[in-house]
Symmetry: C2
Subunit: 207 residues, 2 copies
């Protein structure tokens, strides 16, 4: 088996064990066993538990960001862009619950260097969402007061809400990725004020 393929198997096992147990409680014996290799081979290929955890965080970050970016087309209306990005996000976190646990919860269990990795990933996602909201606001040309600073705050709120809903959906098998995305659109696009008045955001038929 080629080295790249072996490393992928080791990282798959690492994400699973780190996602379930956290950094400190995770055992390299368990990771090696799950990957079907010897523990010395894990150390030979990936050097140390620290390096393996870092590699897992980076791979899962890159995969999540790529999934969201791939989901969004810029030639559609702003609410459709948001819907597409959210459905891509929730589909990815639902399909990769251990990867999501590593990024959202477990990275912090290892301390500072790992926290820095996920902080960098989160900033990249916030910057992407900020650019989407700013572009939509410019196109809508409705509100000259939707300043850069406020857009930054709205993007933080949106990312925080999406993170919380991913945790909610992953903790409850009956909540689908689509339901999480629809809840998010009703919350963030329609707004609670409209929901109270019975005005909902409509899920597009063709997705």
């Amino acid at each position: 088996m080629p080295r790249a393929e072996r490393e992928r198997q080791m990282m798959d096992a690492g994400v699973r064990v780190f996602g379930e147990r956290g950094y400190r409680a995770a055992s390299m014996d368990e990771i090696a066993e799950l990957a079907g290799v010897s523990k010395p081979l894990v150390y030979l290929y990936l050097n140390s538990k620290e390096d393996l955890f870092t590699a897992c965080i980076r791979r899962e970050s890159a995969a999540l960001i790529a999934a969201v970016r791939a989901g969004v087309r810029v030639d559609v209306p702003a609410d459709r862009q948001l819907w597409d990005g959210l459905t891509a996000f929730f589909a990815h976190t639902a399909e990769h619950p251990d990867g999501w646990a590593v990024l959202h919860s477990q990275a912090r269990s290892g301390g500072d260097p790992f926290v820095a990795e996920v902080v960098a990933m989160r900033e990249e996602i916030v910057a992407f969402v900020t650019s989407l909201i700013a572009a939509a606001a410019r196109e809508a040309h409705g509100d000259p007061e939707l300043a850069e600073r406020e857009v930054a705050g709205l993007a933080q709120a949106l990312v925080g809400a999406a993170e919380a809903l991913a945790g909610w959906a992953n903790g409850d098998d009956s909540v689908s990725a689509r339901e999480a995305a629809a809840t998010m659109m009703n919350f963030a696009w329609a707004g609670l004020g409209n929901l109270m008045a019975g005005a909902r955001w409509s899920v597009p038929d063709a997705s």
Copy 2:
């Protein structure tokens, strides 16, 4: 000095050091020095680093929940209840940045038993927000489809957005608690759809 007062000083020091350094990197020597007592006295009163951290998490949880509950009056319109709750939340997290860091970030750095403490606190806040949204939806009697399940999702989104904005505001001195609350209302009450069309939520004058 009475024991209760001494313990309060030790916990103040604990929240500060745990909030800045995390659980493992925090030193009991530094906590004792900051509290102006000997290290053996800290152990005599609070037993262990684990117990001190648990006591800090519980005290900061209880204070945050009490501050939010005290901010909300139930005899005002739903958007005013939300505004009042949010201003109380952001004022508290701004005034207690180390306490907020302990709850939101650092609890996880200590591992499972501490995670369980903050998960319980978060569930209490989500339940409180759920009851507020459900009561508002009942009063508005607009949308019979705003079912219990969807209200639970909206509450998760709201709490996640507020957590993210508290981190944003605490990381940038120029963002006031009031600005964070106003951003949250524009996001969660007015909704991005209205903001794009130039329709904002209005901050009440009398607060």
